[in-house]
């Protein structure tokens, strides 16, 4: 099995800012490979290099067995790219956009319709509508249809679910999963940790560096400490109090609870007693399984 993407020591800086710093990874055929990281981590820059839109300062980027810097012409026929910002023509209709992209790739909508039928059928009733007048979720489906219309071997999606509601997000991932049957490799980036588990493998990226690459399960398992969730009514006071305690190593807010790790990893009652002493008597402490975000925060702390 060949590697669809092979990146070795890719670096790119914009002036004094190091956007990417020695990025090396490889993506296998037909897998969904996720890049998880906060805004400004370098995900878009990396994607622009993979899609031949940007030249790296150093390093070697091999995509579909070809050098992205020298064989960009051949590569562009085989890559589907969906930029983070909606980049279709807002003043063309749904249908016109799809036909347009099919034509510039030298194909027709009919030829590859089976590939997009699942996705496109959702927006087909609105095919006469201008793309700019679609809702966020529909725009995203149209953009995905246009990126797929030439049957690319590699699909690159830059934060496709940003700004889309939770139901549409979940639907979107179902669609990506279905695309596997067509042997399409997918590279996707997202700032949402909960989407990481939908990928085959994920790379955690921050400040232009890859912190870890593994399956989501193994990344979670890499969490090295015991994790507790602490809940109380007065959340703000709770986190302030927790951070004051020298026994507490980290305390991060997670939804309605606070994830806490302790320096000596003990699971006795001392934390509860401390909180009661500080005046928080309604605290509920439970041991919990670490998620990807916990691991990510742990790695960030170390980096």
């Amino acid at each position: 099995m060949i590697n669809v993407v092979e990146s070795s020591d890719i670096a790119k800086s914009f002036g004094p800012i190091m956007a990417l710093d020695d990025i090396s990874f490889s993506v296998n055929e037909s897998e969904i490979f996720g890049f998880i990281g906060p805004d400004g981590a370098g995900k878009t820059t990396l994607f622009r290099i993979i899609t031949t839109l940007l030249l790296p300062d150093k390093g070697n980027m091999k995509v579909l067995g070809m050098n992205a810097t020298t064989h960009y012409k051949e590569l562009r026929k085989n890559i589907g790219y969906m930029p983070g910002r909606f980049s279709l023509y807002q003043d063309l209709s749904v249908e016109e956009n799809l036909n347009f992209y099919a034509t510039v790739f030298g194909t027709t909508v009919e030829e590859n319709y089976n590939l997009i039928s699942d996705i496109y059928s959702h927006i087909e009733p609105f095919k006469k509508r201008l793309a700019g007048k679609l809702s966020g979720g529909m725009k995203q489906k149209l953009a995905l249809s246009c990126a797929l219309i030439h049957k690319p071997r590699l699909l690159i999606l830059d934060e496709p679910t940003t700004g889309v509601d939770a139901v549409s997000r979940s639907e979107f991932w179902d669609m990506l999963n279905k695309l596997r049957q067509y042997n399409i490799t997918i590279i996707v980036s997202t700032p949402y940790m909960d989407e990481a588990i939908r990928c085959d493998r994920v790379a955690l990226i921050q400040n232009g560096k890859i912190l870890s690459i593994d399956t989501p399960q193994k990344i979670r398992a890499g969490f090295s400490r015991k994790l507790f969730t602490v809940k109380a009514i007065e959340k703000y006071r709770l986190i302030k109090t927790l951070k004051k305690n020298p026994e507490v190593m980290t305390a991060y807010p997670f939804g309605d609870s606070i994830h806490v790790t302790l320096i000596n990893d003990s699971s006795d009652n001392s934390l509860f007693e401390y909180l009661v002493k500080e005046g928080i008597s309604d605290a509920v402490i439970q041991e919990a399984e670490a998620g990807i975000e916990d691991r990510f925060l742990e790695l960030m702390e170390k980096a």
Binding site: T51, K77, Q90, E96, F100, V104, C146
Partner: protein, 372 residues
């Protein structure tokens, strides 16, 4: 080819779907022709004149009525005070003061030279000079009248004289509209070429659609051609519209070949579109583009010789005009429309336009990068 055709079709859909642009593209040229052609004129009419007549003889009154009778001058006030006359000039109430000193009539009657003093408002130097020339003409006329009177009273003395008969070729009636209209047509075509295509290109950058195009196998020159063709066609349509208005509203003569005019305009448009798209590759926003394009357009148009004769510009300006497409089309348009010049008469201009067109289009294609 199919791709280029499809790209062009896409541009047309977008242009005509934009409610404002689709109307403005044809409405503005019509307005421009109807407003500018009759408005811009160097003809002087009704120059306001203040008279200080200290002579008050039949000779001085004869001169004044001669002036007032011409279409160029209108005696707006007369006074005996120089201060008041200067004041009028200062307040823009008149453009010229003519002083007739006392003794003017007597001097003429006794065969001496009559003397006059003329003062001009020369804020606009060219109109002051023109006024002076007109004034000279009227006085020369008056002189001839005086001499003729003398001849009849004393027919034994023959006066030697040269008579000049003149004809104004290509514009017999010295109709200023005939001169300006071909020039206005050039401005019209320039504006279409310069502004619309460049803005369209930068807009794709601004809203990010160019990113999506760049990852496709579309070739650079395909994309550039697709940006040029729609505006080339719109420019030619506007030219045709302008010519029709010229014929219907101003009855301009058209001596040369219409086909030749359209051929030259097409090449000119390619040159201007090439320049516009070249500039657009440097601009990240429509605002940046507008600023640069507007600046270039003003320079090109004002240096093209639309108002001031090309030949009287300093040498360096004439050298600059070697790369100014507007200057070439300005000359071609006037020569073809008014003189009926043929392709061999304008070959130098035509070749230059072809070179500029090829040069800037090549630059635009090369500068447009699909990879940063």
């Amino acid at each position: 080819m199919r791709t280029v055709f499809y790209l062009i079709r896409k541009e047309f859909i977008q242009i005509f779907r934009n409610k404002f642009i689709s109307k403005a593209v044809f409405g503005i040229p019509i307005l421009q022709m109807l407003i500018l052609v009759p408005a811009i004129t160097f003809e002087l009419k009704n120059v306001k004149l203040t008279i200080i007549d200290k002579d008050m003889t039949s000779e001085s009154r004869g001169l004044i009525s001669k002036l007032d009778g011409s279409t160029f001058f209108k005696v707006s006030s007369s006074t005996f005070s120089e201060d008041e006359a200067n004041n009028l000039l200062h307040r823009n109430k008149c453009s010229m003061i003519l002083q007739i000193p006392s003794g003017f009539g007597k001097d003429i009657g006794t065969g001496k030279q009559g003397k006059l003093l003329a003062t001009f408002d020369a804020v606009n130097a060219s109109s002051a000079q023109l006024t002076w020339a007109y004034l000279n003409g009227v006085i020369r006329d008056y002189n001839t009248d005086l001499i003729n009177k003398n001849i009849t009273t004393n027919p034994l003395v023959p006066l030697p004289r040269i008579q000049v008969t003149n004809r104004y070729w290509y514009n017999e009636m010295l109709n200023y509209k005939y001169y300006m209209l071909p020039g206005i047509l050039v401005i019209l075509v320039t504006a279409i070429g310069f502004l619309l295509a460049g803005l369209n290109m930068v807009r794709e950058k601004e809203i990010g659609t160019i990113e999506q195009i760049n990852v496709t196998p579309v070739r650079k020159y395909h994309f550039i051609i697709a940006k040029m063709v729609p505006f080339l066609l719109i420019g030619l349509t506007d030219l045709a519209l302008g010519l029709v208005i010229g014929k219907l509203a101003f009855n301009i003569p058209f001596e040369g070949s219409i086909l030749l005019l359209f051929l030259c305009s097409s090449i000119f448009l390619v040159a201007v579109l090439g320049m516009a798209l070249f500039i657009s590759t440097f601009s990240g926003t429509q605002q940046q583009y507008m600023f640069v394009a507007f600046f270039c357009m003003i320079i090109f148009i004002l240096m093209s010789g639309i108002f001031t004769p090309y030949e009287s510009m300093p040498m360096w300006a004439q050298d600059f005009n070697l790369i100014n497409p507007v200057a070439y089309l300005m000359r071609i348009n006037r020569m073809v429309m008014l003189k009926g010049s043929t392709i061999s008469d304008i070959s130098r201009e035509l070749y230059s336009l072809v070179l500029i067109a090829i040069g800037f289009t090549t630059l635009a294609v090369r500068r447009y990068r699909k990879t940063a």
